[in-house]
């Protein structure tokens, strides 16, 4: 039994008398800590619409898909590989992967077609889950994308970043519709209403802001207008329900 730095447990069959080593079998895999610092954080978690799988992403520069029933890893995507299949060069100063590949938020589209990942360095990357090809890849800003969410109807993707802005995307052609937001601090949580008409955000200054989509205009009376709205998720740590 062998434990590795890559947070894996391998079983290696050995015949000691003949000094023969068999084929290793990996029993457990997990996110690991390749960065030379005191922690390597795991930020992103999203369930598949079918709930039989979930995705996690971490500063270890991987996106991993897990099976809910067996609790085993199905797939591991390396963020250091770009859309052309090329390995992204390490930062020459630190000799480590740059923050633009430290994954920090993940969401899966309601029809299960796309998985989107936001990174600590402000990159957005979207995969088509059918063939795991990258369909969109772009630096949105230089700051941490802490949350991103697909609308319940699957038409939009909204990303919230530490540059106090929100980024709205059309998922049919992966074109950016608008950069918006009136937060006075880093955007940290986003929720959609079930009808995909509105979003609410929490930011680091403990404000709840409401916006109408796709116009992206702030609804300053959102707290009362949307008092009885049904929300698709409850990511916000502030609001009527908490």
């Amino acid at each position: 039994m062998v434990g590795t730095f890559g947070h894996e447990v391998w079983e290696v069959p050995c015949k000691l008398k003949e000094n023969i080593v068999g084929k290793p079998n990996c029993l457990i895999k997990g996110h690991y800590a390749p960065l030379n610092k005191w922690n390597n954080e795991c930020w992103g978690l999203a369930t598949f619409p079918s709930k039989d799988k979930y995705a996690t992403c971490s500063w270890d520069q991987t996106l991993r898909i897990w099976d809910t029933a067996t609790r085993k890893m199905d797939k591991c995507i390396d963020l250091k590989i770009d859309a052309k299949g090329q390995k992204i060069a390490v930062d020459p100063k630190t000799k480590e992967a740059g923050k633009d590949v430290w994954a920090s938020s993940v969401d899966i589209s309601p029809n299960g077609a796309f998985v989107a990942v936001g990174t600590f360095g402000g990159n957005l990357r979207v995969w088509s889950m059918k063939d795991w090809k990258i369909v969109y890849e772009k630096p949105l800003c230089k700051k941490h994308i802490e949350d991103l969410k697909f609308s319940p109807d699957g038409q939009y993707l909204v990303c919230g970043a530490h540059d106090q802005k929100l980024y709205l995307y059309d998922t049919s052609n992966w074109k950016k519709i608008k950069t918006f937001g009136r937060s006075s601090a880093s955007v940290i949580h986003i929720d959609w209403t079930r009808d995909s008409q509105c979003i609410r955000t929490n930011d680091a200054s403990y404000e709840i802001l409401y916006y109408a989509i796709p116009g992206c205009n702030q609804d300053t009376s959102g707290a009362s207008n949307l008092r009885d709205a049904e929300w698709a998720t409850q990511s916000c740590i502030l609001g009527w329900a908490v």
């Binding site: 039994m1 730095f5 290793p24």
Partner: protein, 196 residues
């Protein structure tokens, strides 16, 4: 599974870095992550502290018992052999004999200690003196050592495992984990256990 004892205090002021049982299982030694890398030895049955001491200013990585009264701690620029006698604990600094003092792992083998160095060398210690270089199989730090079933297994940051005869230290076989652990994120070895 039921909790027998909660071991608190007795000099352990920060998170536990590592722990090790004595050969009979009667004693448990703990080292913490504080600046002094404090040590505490407990009686497993009663949960009482038998002895405590400041470890070293250098970071302690691992520790291993050789007998019911002696154990050793290792780390970066650190080797100390500790002797427990009637509630007192005394540490003796290791003599590295001009060999590498960056130690990553330790295990007891009969009446000696085996330690893994940053140079990839496996050292044999007679008490607190480095007596012999048993092997130089690895090219990087040895993070994992275990002695089981008459074999010494060493695993290192060079992603290799070697199995040596526990008496002669002759290399029996090796595993190239970087080549055979297909799909591994990093095959640097952090722990080995053998089931006979």
């Amino acid at each position: 599974m039921t909790k027998l004892h909660e071991l608190k205090g007795n000099g352990i002021v920060k998170s536990v870095r590592n722990l090790s049982f004595s050969p009979s299982g009667a004693l448990l030694a703990i080292v913490d992550n504080s600046d002094d890398h404090n040590l505490a030895v407990y009686n497993v049955e009663t949960g009482t502290c038998v002895a405590k001491a400041k470890g070293d200013r250098s970071a302690i990585q691992e520790l291993a018992f050789k007998s019911e009264t002696q154990f050793a701690t290792v780390g970066a620029k650190h080797f100390k052999e500790w002797t427990i006698a009637s509630g007192n604990i005394k540490g003796k600094m290791g003599n590295f004999n001009k060999k590498s003092n960056m130690i990553g792992s330790i295990v007891a083998n009969e009446q000696s200690y085996l330690t893994g160095a940053a140079t990839g060398e496996l050292f044999v210690w007679n008490g607190s003196t480095l007596s012999k270089v048993a092997a130089k199989n690895h090219s990087k730090l040895i993070d994992a050592i275990t002695v089981q079933d008459g074999l010494v297994f060493t695993g290192g940051r060079d992603s290799k495992i070697f199995a040596l005869d526990a008496k002669t230290y002759a290399t029996k076989f090796s595993i190239d984990c970087a080549a055979t652990f297909t799909g591994s994120s990093s095959a640097q070895i952090r722990g080995i256990s053998y089931s006979p």
